[in-house]
């Protein structure tokens, strides 16, 4: 970019107009310099975001139907439950019995005040620790307490011992 600043033919608005030939040459140089700067700087500003945008992000994709591994049936044996993260939302996975259809998953956010629910292996119900809201692990329905609505169901797929959550 230095040549432009050094350019002796760069006239201020009030400067005396140089001879025709000299002026034409310096004008051409100036125009080239300006065009070069403009094209380069604008292209850099436009192309950088576009190329970065196209590079796949390291974080897993979040499209619907994407499967998230929540754990294995060894992590979550029959009669237990665990809160896992699906993307940025907490999900409670419960292994009610050893069959694949016995693995259930619900949004772990209590419908009362938004506390994170847990699974009580003794009484075999989902319990919100804040105000003792109880949910049915079979369908997410409210059994007792203040929650106004059932927990949102998350689809689960069990393959061998692996438990996958399916994004809805």
């Amino acid at each position: 970019m230095a040549p432009g600043e050094d350019d002796p033919g760069f006239p201020g608005p009030d400067s005396v107009r140089p001879a025709i030939g000299e002026d034409t040459v310096s004008r051409r140089r100036f125009i080239k310099w300006v065009l070069g700067f403009s094209v380069t700087s604008i292209a850099a500003m436009v192309i950088t975001p576009i190329v970065s945008f196209l590079v796949p992000a390291k974080q897993e994709t979040t499209g619907a139907g994407a499967r998230v591994l929540a754990g294995t049936t060894t992590d979550i044996p029959s009669g237990t439950g665990k809160v896992v993260a699906m993307g940025s939302s907490p999900v409670i996975v419960i292994n009610t019995d050893s069959t694949p259809s016995g693995v259930k998953a619900y949004s772990a956010v209590c419908t009362h005040l938004g506390c994170i629910v847990g699974y009580d292996s003794t009484t075999r119900v989902i319990v919100c620790p804040c105000h003792d809201g109880h949910f049915n692990p079979a369908n997410g329905a409210v059994i007792s307490g203040p929650p106004p609505a059932p927990l949102k169901t998350i689809d689960v797929a069990v393959e061998k011992d692996q438990i996958f959550l399916v994004r809805g």
Binding site: P49, S52, R167
Partner: protein, 363 residues
């Protein structure tokens, strides 16, 4: 610009390499010649709109690479674009603001052309193509608004499509056609996405081509005096030869400067007010203040105030009048002073539209 520069054919080696193989020089030199009267004051609005359309094409294409047009995935994919993908927030925000600015610029361009009487003979078809471009732009905005599938998008589309539902006789059919069913559902999203990325770009592209080709052939209008009609005695004979301004490079350079300013505005808006995302659309929870996009607010508010039949027929008649304006307004004069009725009607229409929009916003 670079290509046009080469076409000037200074006999550079690269220029010769292409020129001998493409023979494109004459075409390019023809393209860079547009008749521009020295009195013309286009304020570069048409060119800025063209630039914004280009921005929308680029950013829209990029967004489509990540976007998933199903209700289950749309919201998450937009959230992913906004929060995870590098510069995703920028691309999305630029697309968001580009859309709004484009509608504003199209309207300002239309008002400028109206004020200068530039739609009169022989430019009737430029105007009609331009009116089509305005409608296509609004169509873009309307279909694009739903795509993030958040609460605001869902409910704005719900009430927006309801406007179509109140058209007499064909209302229900039109509503079903728009929504792809009785309600805003997955079918609506598919339709809107298809319209937004296939139908409207092709339609707008075709209209734009027509618009630009005719402008290129006829040049800009002189806002000081009407174009002489063939056979009109004396018009061309008495008038002094028109002073012109070179399209290349003067006019083009001005446009480029305006584009750079517009790019700066876009970057500022996108950084300071990035496109947000509300909660995911939930058909069971109606938010407190449901409103359509701002450019539909006037129609929406009108519908609330007057009987349905009036509320829906008034905009339809207005659009019809707008499209066929060159054939309705037979006054040959172009200076505002000589066509007071047209100017007053337009001012009244603007006042009503702005008034209704503001009223709709604050009600």
């Amino acid at each position: 610009m670079a290509a046009a520069g080469r076409a000037e054919g200074t006999g550079s080696r690269v220029g010769d390499f292409f020129e001998t193989r493409l023979r494109i020089g004459p075409l390019l030199s023809a393209l860079v010649h547009v008749r521009i009267p020295i009195e013309a004051r286009p304020y570069y609005l048409g060119g800025i709109t063209l630039f914004l359309f280009g921005v929308q094409v680029v950013t829209g294409t990029l967004l489509a690479l990540y976007y998933q047009p199903t209700p289950d995935a749309a919201y998450d994919s937009v959230k992913y674009i906004t929060s995870v993908v590098e510069f995703g927030w920028l691309i999305r925000s630029v697309h968001h603001w580009g859309a709004n600015l484009m509608i504003i610029c199209v309207v300002l361009h239309l008002l400028r052309v109206f004020a200068h009487g530039a739609y009169k003979f022989p430019r009737e078809f430029i105007w009609i193509a331009g009116a089509g471009l305005l409608l296509a732009t609004i169509g873009f905005g309307f279909t694009g608004y739903l795509l993030p599938w958040d609460q605001r998008a869902f409910w704005a589309t719900t009430v927006g499509t309801e406007i179509a539902g109140s058209v007499p006789v064909i209302g229900d059919g039109l509503l079903g056609l728009l929504r792809g069913g009785a309600d805003v559902t997955a079918a609506t999203l598919s339709r809107f996405f298809g319209m937004h990325v296939l139908v409207l770009p092709l339609g707008l592209g075709a209209l734009l081509l027509a618009h630009l080709v005719i402008v290129h052939q006829l040049g800009l209008a002189n806002p000081k005096r009407p174009e002489p009609r063939p056979g009109t005695f004396g018009a061309s004979a008495t008038a002094a030869p028109e002073k012109l301004r070179p399209f290349w490079p003067d006019y083009v350079l001005d446009e480029v400067i305006a584009w750079a300013v517009m790019l700066a505005i876009l970057v500022i808006l996108a950084s300071v007010f990035p496109a947000g995302l509300e909660d995911k659309a939930d058909p069971l929870i109606t938010p407190q203040h449901v409103k359509p996009e701002w450019y539909f607010l006037s129609v929406y508010q009108l519908l609330k105030l007057v009987p349905r039949i009036v509320g829906i027929m008034a905009p339809i008649v207005a659009i019809g009048a707008l499209v066929f304006l060159p054939f309705l307004d037979r006054n040959p004069a172009v200076t505002p002073r000589k066509r007071p009725i047209a100017i007053l009607v337009a001012l009244a229409a603007i006042a009503v539209m702005v008034g209704l929009t503001v009223w709709g916003q604050y009600s």
